[in-house]
Amino acid sequence: MEPILKVEDINVYYGSIHAIKGISFYVNEGEIVTLIGANGAGKTTTLQTVSGLLRSKTGSISLQGEDISNVPAHKRVARGLAQVPEGRRIFLQMSVQENLEMGAFTQSNSGIAKDLERVFEYFPRLKERRRQIAGTLSGGEQQMLAMGRALMSHPRLLMLDEPSMGLAPILVEQIFEIIQTLHKAGTTILLVEQNAQAALSIADRGYVLETGKIILADNASALLKNDAVQKAYLGGGGG
């Protein structure tokens, strides 16, 4: 079966800084795949290249078998790609509901009411606060909003960049539960995490990124047992 996402030999630069050095990976339909790695390894850069905010100098990115390397970022959304960016990046001066409506920008207006209800089922807190200005939400609520907003576009592939960052353990657990629920509902997931333990425990497969290169790729359960991974990312150094 053709992978839903296939990234081949991408090289990404920030000016003269070579941030991603020829990496390749794939995500199959229905999988949860995680990218783990230390600060500055290139996880965010990778996701932003897939979503089109950054461009690769080489290689290709294919979504559902079609090369999207030259498709502008905003047109990739309609092809089923959604990203919950690092640091949430919700629209702070807009209301909760307006943020969700922006998530549905590529959708026809007629379905929005139903999609809002679906998001509110996942995140009841957002329903109570739908008129509130997003900048006044708590950190956890902002993360929920960022996820809800991404869901509004009915993504085939949802990419999450450190959804647990800065959240209390109980909220982290909740966020991971929701990721699993979304997955069960048929969304394919590419998850970037520093919380390697949590990410690997829900993922099917994982890639370990180090200074712009993939140094390990394996089943999640195997990575959890891998000595090098345990030492570098699971031995209490995961934050």
């Binding site: 979503s51 089109g52 905010l53 502008p72 970022a73 905003h74 047109k75 959304v77 309609a78 959604a82 990203q83 960016p85 990046r89 919700i90 629209f91 702070l92 001066q93 807009m94 307006e98 409506e101 922006m102 998530g103 920008f105 590529t106 207006n109 900048g135 939400l137 708590s138 950190g139 902002q142 907003r149 991404a150 576009s153 800065g166």
Partner: protein, 293 residues
């Protein structure tokens, strides 16, 4: 009664400033740049309307419409050619380009239309409303300017708070990257903002030249700077701010002219701006920047 008459003139002049300031502030909000050529788009709009109505004898409404269409296209073209290639450039480069664009438009107008002042035709019907048994007279232009400003303000408020494109515009002004992740075409949205701002500039140009009917290639320069001042005064980036800033500036200017000195009115206007910015650096209605970490 004189006071009331000055107040109304002030609001009317302020309405024109506000319409121009809206263009400044919307473009600043989304492109984070000061489009110093905005004032000169006003002048182009006024010339288009002048030629359409005086030379080609078209009806005033057609002249105004033509001015709006030409300025809208001009705004889009200016952005595409001059500013878009500088999206990632340092602020100073963009600022200098904008000033260059302003001079370019003024000199192009000089070449095309010469420096001879044109007498702007009365596209707004001349005439006065007489109140209180003739003690208070208000010209139609004064009233039309105020009405235009109110209608534009209401329309923009509706547009940015209720329509999908308007909300997308606000989203882009907050975070372009995140907006792209929503599927919003950021370049298209920026073009749209320039289009709206420039279309409004054309209306302002017609109103301005109807109130002060001498048209030269530098006609837009001073009102442009005043409107920019109004936008900063109200809080740059804020639509209600541009409205409030414009009206206040117009009132201050007219009162300064009436009660203090005609020559000193401009220094007074700018002195007020400096004082306001010292007290409230973000302007009267400037957005408080808050961020969660």
């Amino acid at each position: 009664m004189a006071f009331l008459s000055f107040l109304i003139s002030g609001i009317s002049l302020g309405s024109i400033y506000a319409i121009i300031a809206l263009g400044y502030t919307m473009v600043y909000g989304i492109a984070k740049m000061l489009n110093f050529a905005h004032g000169d788009v006003i002048m182009v709009g006024a010339y288009i309307c002048f030629y359409a109505t005086s030379r080609f004898q078209l009806p005033p409404l057609v002249g105004i419409l033509l001015a709006v269409v030409v300025c809208t296209i001009l705004g889009i073209v200016i952005e595409r050619l001059a500013y878009k290639p500088l999206r990632a450039a340092p602020v100073l480069a963009v600022l200098i380009t904008a000033i260059g664009m302003s001079y370019f438009l003024q000199n192009a107008a000089l070449l095309l239309w010469s420096s001879n002042p044109k007498v702007f035709p009365p596209v707004v019907p001349t005439g006065k409303i007489s109140l209180f048994g003739g003690q208070l007279t208000i010209s139609y232009v004064t009233v039309v300017a105020i009405l235009c400003c109110i209608v534009i303000m209401l329309a923009l408020t509706w547009f940015t708070s209720k329509t999908k494109m308007g909300k997308a515009m606000r989203a882009c002004s907050e975070d372009k990257g995140a907006s792209q992740l929503m599927g919003i075409n950021v370049n298209g949205t920026i073009s749209l903002t320039f289009a709206i701002g420039s279309g409004l500039a054309a209306i302002a140009g017609v109103l301005l030249c109807s109130a002060y009917p001498t048209l030269v290639p530098t006609t837009g320069a001073m009102p442009g700077i005043k409107a920019f001042t109004a936008a900063v005064f109200g809080g740059i980036g804020s639509i209600p701010g541009a409205f409030v800033g414009g009206i206040l500036l117009g009132i201050i200017e007219i009162f300064a002219k009436a009660y203090i000195s005609t020559q000193l009115s401009d220094p007074i206007v700018f002195a007020v701006l400096i004082i306001v910015l010292l007290v409230r650096p973000a302007g009267l209605l400037g957005k408080q920047i808050r961020e969660k970490v």
